[in-house]
Amino acid sequence: MRAQLPRRVLLSLVLRLLFLKPVVTGSCSGDDQELLKQLQRQTDFMQDTSRLLDPYMHAQGLDVPGLKEHCQEHPGVFPRENALHGLSRRGFLQTLNAKLGHVLHRLTILQQDLPKVQLTVKRYIYGIRNNIYCLAQLLPGSSETAEPTQAGTEDSPPPPPASDTFQRKLQGCQFLRGYHRFMHSVGQVFHKWRESPSRSRRHSPHRALRKGAYRMQPSMRGKRLMPRGQLPQ
């Protein structure tokens, strides 16, 4: 637990640097609209291919005719947008959180190929996951039943890591393209959430969200965040 504390502090500082309203040390914002707004901005940032994909393709020499055409998203790695729209809010947040965890893991593998940009992107992903956590805190736990943690189960599983370097290059490229597309889809979902607050009120009335948030805060003070990827039920 002591080891977790500096990480949270570092994360808080990183988010402050990113001009995002921080969700730090158990103190989440009770304003779901504000959280949605921040998440919208973050997903807008992350869907930009110049953040990850373009530097990667350039570093690997894949930005040439004949190769860049093969840098297409591999189906099944990230859920499609219609699948995301079909999820409940809790299920959507769980899926997003899990996928971002996979992305963080994959970025660590790609660290040697993206030494400069991957650190910044990782910070952003940490910020998104914290806001997901805070948004999940505002969801009423009783109104939602158990949700699948993965969306798009009908999709084929992601391909196994390739044995040769060339195929791994292509897979990294395909993964990053899928990630940017996925973040675009996530942004669309958040956009829809912001445009239809009635559903939000129906399922999780704003007042109830705030109550829940306020009720949660005392217990969160002085405690660390829940482990990454673990959302409240």
Partner: protein, 971 residues
């Protein structure tokens, strides 16, 4: 014959038996044949690994054997490699051999076989090869997956410049497979329906992540990464040195970095041959080597650079004490700093027992090394710096090296210091300019600021001591604060000696002395001209007296705002070149050459004036045209200054645009720069600034231009001035007609005045009773005072001022406003003022102006009569009724003039009882005048229409005036 046949048969049998024996011997296997041959593949290195054994060797038996290995590709008959491998073989030994294939082993099937030969000396000859082993087939394609397309070799690492062979293997024979390196297509050779080979020559480094090579068909793509590294270079400038005899610091230049992504980078190791120690270096450019405590003096260090493809080494042998590179000194201080000296102290780090160092002290001033000294140092040292300049910033630095075996200097360490001030060492350079004004000398002193090397500090002020040489006791001191560079003195006609000194906080400079003589010297020196060049102005002069201490040339531009400059010259000099960056083209400079006598009196020798570079005039003079006649006019440009031009004016050109083919006499035809033809008249005298253009045609116009000309050209041909020539008689007419008009006007005025006088005397408009001739007759006849009815005896009635106007267009002269436009908000009243001694029944009678206020008249009252005034009832009654009023008016109305001309403003006779009334003038005679209350005239009131134009405010005045338009219908 039979014998021959028998012998032949026996020979054949013998031969047959020998062949049979031989074949039996050869067919028997040799005891040391290679067996158990195994072939494996290393795909990463594209190597075939062979291992085998040799049986039938006894214990401790070692035989030198030769193994011949054959490698075939695709089919056994296609042998591509044969190699003899010699090796001593012992009992039960497993033998290894590898072969690197240029073609990836996965591309095609390979076959390997081996045989042996005993080459040991212990085995007598003849030696025979053993039988070949059976062919071992190596088919790497069998172990490939089910992918439809493969490209080989995978992740191969080569050096830049290498030739690389790649291939693709397709599961199905296809012809539409294309391959490319990066985005450049490559073309290969088909080995089989499923395999094609590509040879890439002289591959170059592209990026750290490797070069992408790929093949694709419409449905599949496969590729490889070819890692091309830079060629590992031999380390350059490998050197080792020590600062403390405890450790060595070795450095080198590694050259190209051969590091690739996903590949191990180049590494460096140090090996010392005497001690046998090795160290793997952590850095690519330097490495520390710990010196052995056993005082090893000589070192033989080898630096090895190594990567996966190459290994390079470089060695140095040296004595440790010969590679001492001391650390830079420390604790550098400066003490006892004066104006010219300072002492520098410092310490050095000890270098083991080898502690004697040679230190170098360098003194820098203004960026240059001024002094440099070597000092032998143990631990602490100092150096005395002398011959310094006052108030100068210096940088002193020190570095050290081993005294006995010089290797390298240490780094410099330095300190900055500034020496103290001292008194100025030089007298200021002083010059003067003297003007004689009204019996006194105006002396302007100039001095140049002392240079830094002479000022020795900040100059605070200048002392000017004026000593009257004619009155030795008269001394005057002026203290002029810096940074002034001159002053002006007014001196009388005596001789003066002037001392000028510069002073700083420490002391005073030597004095600069000049003498102003009571004799102003030679004033009649004529000014000569001088031509400047790019090098400046070259001046020369003839000395007038041999006893001089020097010469001074001063100069100043024509612009008075610029300051005098001067140059001091030796007494033996009779010429000089004045150079200055301040010289500008087109500016006239005046030079004066003085000789300085031993009494320090300056005598003017010569005066020169000139231009550094003459420029053509940029402006033409402003020309005034005068004396314009029908045949000539004069031009004048007297305001044009020839001295302030950009070159010496040699004269003027007068251009006249011709009206005819021929030019006027004196003019010559020239073609201007714009190809126009003009007549030019040349004036050679620059001081002639007038010109008369003659022989002109009357009633025409001419265009002229006056421009100066110089040795470098003339002024601009910009705008010609037009002059219109009058006709021949106009001036005559003007001279006659103007006086005639004047006389006529004078005559008219006289006539008018005479007529007025006559009118006044003979038939005035209103006869003055006092001036009546009747009075003179009465006086003459009765000889008593003529009696005229006193005004005071009469009750004032009324005064009417009748304005006779034609139409409604008559306007007030002053206000320029027509009567019809005038609006009176109040009725106009005409007050009858009582005379001074009037004691009648009422002081005033007023009439309302019915012309402008009919309503008021209808009321039958006069609201403007003062309440306190008591108007006689009879009169009031008479006047307050309109009918009565009308009657009264009719009875008293007198029309003295009988009407004025239409439109004429006139002063009319005013009757005391006359009142304004409505009605037409023509109707007046219909009502005969009634009995008048007073028949005597009173003082007449003359009212000018123009001057008496009433204003609304004036309506309330006591003497309101009613103006009537006679021609306007009555209402």
């Amino acid at each position: 014959m039979a014998l021959f046949a028998v012998v032949q048969a026996a020979f054949l049998l013998t031969l047959l038996s020998f062949r049979t024996y031989q074949s039996e011997v050869l067919s028997e296997p040799l005891p040391w044949t290679p067996e158990s041959l195994e072939v494996s593949i290393n795909s990463a290195q594209q190597c075939l690994y062979l291992q085998w054994r040799v049986h039938n060797l006894t214990h401790h038996q070692e035989l030198k054997m030769v193994f011949q290995i054959e490698i075939s590709r695709i089919e056994t008959s296609n042998v591509i490699w044969v190699e003899n491998y010699s090796i001593p073989v012992t009992w039960n030994q497993v033998l290894h051999w590898s072969w690197e294939s240029k073609l990836p082993l996965e591309c095609v099937t390979h076959f390997v076989r081996i045989r042996s030969l005993v080459a040991d000396a212990s085995i007598p000859e003849p030696r025979f090869w053993s039988n070949w082993s059976s062919w071992e087939e190596v088919d790497a394609q069998k172990s490939l997956g089910q992918d439809p397309l493969f490209v080989f070799p995978k992740d191969k690492l080569v050096e830049e410049g290498s030739n690389v062979t790649i291939c693709y293997v397709s599961r199905s024979p296809e012809s539409n497979i294309s391959c490319a390196m990066e985005d450049v297509p490559i073309h290969g050779k088909r080995l089989s329906p499923n395999v094609s080979v590509f040879i890439l020559n002289d591959v170059r480094f592209i990026r750290e992540t490797g070069t992408n090579i790929y093949c694709l068909n419409p449905s599949n793509m496969s590729g490889i990464i070819l890692y091309v590294s830079k060629v590992l270079e031999e380390p350059k400038d490998f050197s080792c040195e020590t600062q403390d005899l405890k450790s060595l610091n070795c450095t080198w230049d590694p050259g190209h970095d051969t590091t690739l992504r996903h590949q191990s980078s180049q590494r460096y190791t140090l090996f010392e041959s005497f001690s046998g120690k090795t160290k793997l270096c952590e850095h690519k450019k330097w490495c520390h080597w710990q010196v052995a405590p056993d005082s090893q003096e000589t070192y033989n260090l080898t630096l090895t650079a190594e990567n996966q493809l190459r290994r390079r080494s470089v060695s140095i042998l040296f004595n440790l004490t010969h590679r001492v590179h001391p650390m830079k000194p420390f604790n550098v201080f400066l003490k006892s700093i004066s104006a010219t000296n300072a002492t520098m102290t410092w310490k050095v780090h000890p270098v083991g027992n080898y502690s004697t160092l040679l230190c170098q002290v360098a003194l820098h001033g203004e960026g240059k090394v001024i002094q440099q000294h070597n000092v032998s140092v143990k631990v602490k040292s100092q150096y005395f710096l002398s011959e310094l300049e006052p108030v100068t910033e210096y940088v002193t630095r020190v570095r050290c090296a081993a005294a006995n075996h010089f290797w390298k200097w240490s780094e410099w360490i330095g300190q900055t210091f500034t020496t103290l001030e001292a008194a100025p060492s030089e007298a200021p350079d002083v010059w003067r300019n003297v003007k004689s004004v009204l019996g006194s000398h105006i002396v302007t002193l100039f001095w140049r600021p002392l240079s830094k090397s002479h000022a020795h500090g900040k100059i605070l002020f200048y002392n000017v001591v004026i000593e009257n040489l004619d009155k030795p006791s008269s001394v005057k001191l002026l203290s002029i604060p810096a940074p002034a560079n001159g002053t002006e003195l007014t001196l009388d006609q005596c001789s003066y000696q002037i001392h000028v000194t510069a002073n700083n906080s420490v002391g005073t400079s030597p004095a600069s002395i000049i003498v102003i003589s009571r004799d102003p010297g030679n004033k009649n020196v004529e000014e000569g001209r001088i031509q400047g060049t790019e090098d400046g102005f070259s001046l020369s002069w003839k000395p007038q007296s041999g006893d001089v201490i020097g010469y001074v040339v001063d100069w100043y531009p024509q612009d008075p705002r610029c300051q005098l400059q001067w140059k001091n010259l030796d007494p033996n000099t009779t010429s000089t070149v004045i150079r200055s960056d301040a010289f500008r083209p087109g500016i006239r400079y005046n030079f004066r050459i003085y000789e300085i006598s031993t009494e320090r009196i300056a005598y003017l020798l010569e005066k020169k004036t000139g231009y550094a570079q003459e420029l053509a005039p940029s402006e033409n003079p402003q020309v005034a045209v005068s004396n314009l006649t029908s045949h000539s006019f004069s031009l004048s440009w007297k305001d044009y200054s020839t001295d302030s031009q950009s070159s010496f004016i040699q004269g003027y050109h007068v251009y006249l645009k011709p009206k005819e083919e021929q030019c006027h006499p004196g003019f010559e035809k020239v073609v201007l720069s714009d190809d126009s033809v003009c007549c030019q008249y040349k004036i050679d005298n620059p001081e002639q600034k007038t010109f008369v253009v003659e022989n002109l045609q009357p009633e025409s116009f001419y265009e002229f231009l006056v421009t100066p000309y110089t040795s470098v050209g003339e002024g601009p041909h910009d705008a010609f001035t037009k002059v219109t020539i009058p006709d021949e008689y106009s001036h005559v007419l003007i001279r006659i007609i103007l006086p005639m008009i004047f006389c006529l006007l004078l005559l008219m005025v006289l006539c008018y005045l005479t007529s007025q006088w006559m009118k006044e005397k003979c038939y005035p408009d209103i006869p003055d009773p006092y001036k009546s001739s009747v009075l003179s007759l009465i006086k003459y006849k009765e000889n008593h005072h003529p009696t005229i009815m006193n005004v005071n005896d009469c009750v004032p009635d009324a005064i009417e001022v009748v304005n006779k106007l034609e139409g409604s267009k008559i306007q007030f002269l002053g206000a320029r406003k027509s009567l019809t436009e005038m609006e009176f908000t109040k009725p106009a009243y005409l007050y009858l003022l009582p005379t001074e001694n009037y004691s009648g029944p009422g002081p005033c009678i007023c009439f309302e102006n019915f012309t402008y206020n009919q309503a008021a008249s209808d009321s039958g009252s006069c609201g403007h009569v003062p309440v306190l005034l008591k108007t006689p009832p009879s009169q009031l009654a008479l006047l307050t009724s309109p009918e009565n009023l009308l009657k009264t008016l009719e009875q008293n109305y007198v029309n003295s003039s009988g009407g004025s001309p239409a439109g004429e403003t006139s002063l009319n006779y005013v009757s005391q009882l006359a009142s304004h009334m409505s009605g037409d003038k023509d109707s007046l005679p219909t009502n005969p005048p009634g009995p008048a209350l007073c028949s005597e005239y009173r003082t007449q009131m003359a009212v000018s229409l123009g001057l008496a134009s009433p204003s609304p405010s004036e309506n309330s005045s006591l003497s309101s005036v009613t103006l009537l338009d006679q021609g306007e219908p009555r209402r």
